[in-house]
Symmetry: C2
Subunit: 412 residues, 2 copies
Amino acid sequence: MNDFFKLISPAEFVGLFADFTPLPAETIALGQARGRVPAQQLTSPEALPPFSRSTMDGFAVRAADTFGCSEAETALLTVAGEIAMGASGRDMMLKPGQAARIWTGGELPRKADAVVMVEYTQPFDEETVAVFRPVAPGENVIREGEDFAPGTTVLAPGRALRPQDLGVLAGLGMTAIPVHRRPRVAILSTGDELVPPDQIPLPGKIRDINSTTMAALVEEAGAIPLPLGICGDDFDHMLALCNDALEQADILLLSGGSSVGKRDFTQRVFAAMADTTMLAHGISIRPGKPTILARQGNKALFGLPGHVASALVIFYCFVRPLLRQYSGLGATLGLSRIRAVTGQQIPSTIGREDYVRVRLVDQEGATLPVAMPIYGKSGLLNPLVRADGLLAIGRDVEGLDRGVECPVLLFP
Amino acid sequence: MNDFFKLISPAEFVGLFADFTPLPAETIALGQARGRVPAQQLTSPEALPPFSRSTMDGFAVRAADTFGCSEAETALLTVAGEIAMGASGRDMMLKPGQAARIWTGGELPRKADAVVMVEYTQPFDEETVAVFRPVAPGENVIREGEDFAPGTTVLAPGRALRPQDLGVLAGLGMTAIPVHRRPRVAILSTGDELVPPDQIPLPGKIRDINSTTMAALVEEAGAIPLPLGICGDDFDHMLALCNDALEQADILLLSGGSSVGKRDFTQRVFAAMADTTMLAHGISIRPGKPTILARQGNKALFGLPGHVASALVIFYCFVRPLLRQYSGLGATLGLSRIRAVTGQQIPSTIGREDYVRVRLVDQEGATLPVAMPIYGKSGLLNPLVRADGLLAIGRDVEGLDRGVECPVLLFP
């Protein structure tokens, strides 16, 4: 009656992802690249800044002309002109004893090597400025290529592009960026009892919760959800849908039907697909034990638990790391992890990892928040809506006492 | 020469946002609602689940019929039938001594009040099942409305919708959700020296970095960037562009021109717009001191520093909280904050808040990472690309010693 299946540990399960390769590169416009991962090292094609620039409003000088000046004994410099913003400083050359008005970001004239802030100058006469604080060579100047010299590494692969990274690429004129393609994730909910969320369920039926939840989880992880809707408990139909799904998608998330029971089609359907290999059926984790993983080439097929609370834990612990692996980030969780203190004793079982939903409560005068477990049957959504994250209890730990420090993975 | 302006503290600056009201509600499809903030309390229109459901594959029973049974003395129950998945259990009524086959998620027949897992049963004959473990009333059952009773609060305003929240709304058939409109943010870079990122700058010119960076920051914060491009240092043109910007946008981010200098048009332009009030010019913060804030009704005009490193700090400390205020989340940073240990002495000045770019380095055997400051002229992008976040040093603190605990705001 009970199909026996061998449980593997969460670490072993994640270890399976090492054999999946990041998705191929595509070139996209810079403005679309936030959160995407470079598919190769990005190297500066030119110098940034392209010329030596002032970082202040003031006067470009030859620094030596200001040495030794003070409020009592100002250095008087002849104002040779002004470098208008956006004009080239190269058209002017400072002779000894000369200064040029300059604005923040302006190009230094030739032979100038520093800028005196306007605050440390006073007009002396029409053609002369009095400087009363000396500057060192290079002061208030960013040298040509000081930010990035030509040929230096700007950004390495393996990290998602942030706003400032895009800024640098804009500054270097790199407006077409090679990044890993975003994973496409087909989502299929199975069960004769399901109707779409916009329908009123007949007696015995219930609305499909998993498709909406999974699509949002996929989107949050930076991948592209392809919701395929609901499939009844029909082997041939499910097989046809799964085959179609892998035509378009890199991952199939099939939820429901992974418990050990007479309608456990999932494993049989995956096995009936061409060129699939079963990688795992069952993880020593709670919730989410009856998870199935198969592969077809570089594509992955997940059989997720039907209860959304369990499916969500499996998504964060495993699907998300695989999406990150495909995206070039490596098979890591990519979730914020904070430290908290247990608000009550939390039992666990040796030999499996427990992921306990917790609510975080700030305590007056304490640095760490209190993690309060939110128990509830795994079919309930309410505890999931009230939870801030997951408290992970390792497989070698037999529960946690009240008042001990513990790590909490925050829901993103 | 120097326009004198009064600095206000960062806390006073954020305090100004209390007068800006969240943007009006709009109703959007559930599938689009991730990250959006409900504009009102969302109340359950019906019971979830809509009927009492089994959480296991097994047999629906009257619990009392199993009391006292054991492996030695099984309870023999007559199998009255099967509740097929998606069929209504209401069509069947269990008489004393009867059981019905049921699957996970199935609707209980009338008079059944518990489910025996299939693992604790054995077929006895064609019509009879032997139960060898008793169940309590309610065991392995989720009662009608146990998750959400009709009329209970499902989600309160003030928090962004997460995948599991959308799942609940799907389960309740709430497919059109009232949320605050997303803020629209006009972005304008000013300066005669700027050219767009896809152009090769002539001598003295440089590519616009801020527009790309600001657009990505806005997008990351969940708002809609409206990049208006580059504006030269021309008062009338800038005034016209700013007026146009506020026709479409809730916030204008104008970067450049906020330093105290002859081309400081920003304040004059903002003042020349109809119905604007200057709220602040200058914050006791580093970097980013010469920031300008004006308002026009419920719209905000920011004059940001020209250096992108400064503008980014101002964005995270102030623009992002205002975007959150508009979105219904309250004027908070909304950034992850972790604890770290300073890797070297970090000087600061009493009377202003310092935001120091830091790189985080994990230390073997230590719980907290080391925060290494990354110094560099504020015109440089390189330190920003290497940084993981910002170490905040309060206004009453004269620097931090090496090896002390400190909070670090992580770049999202």
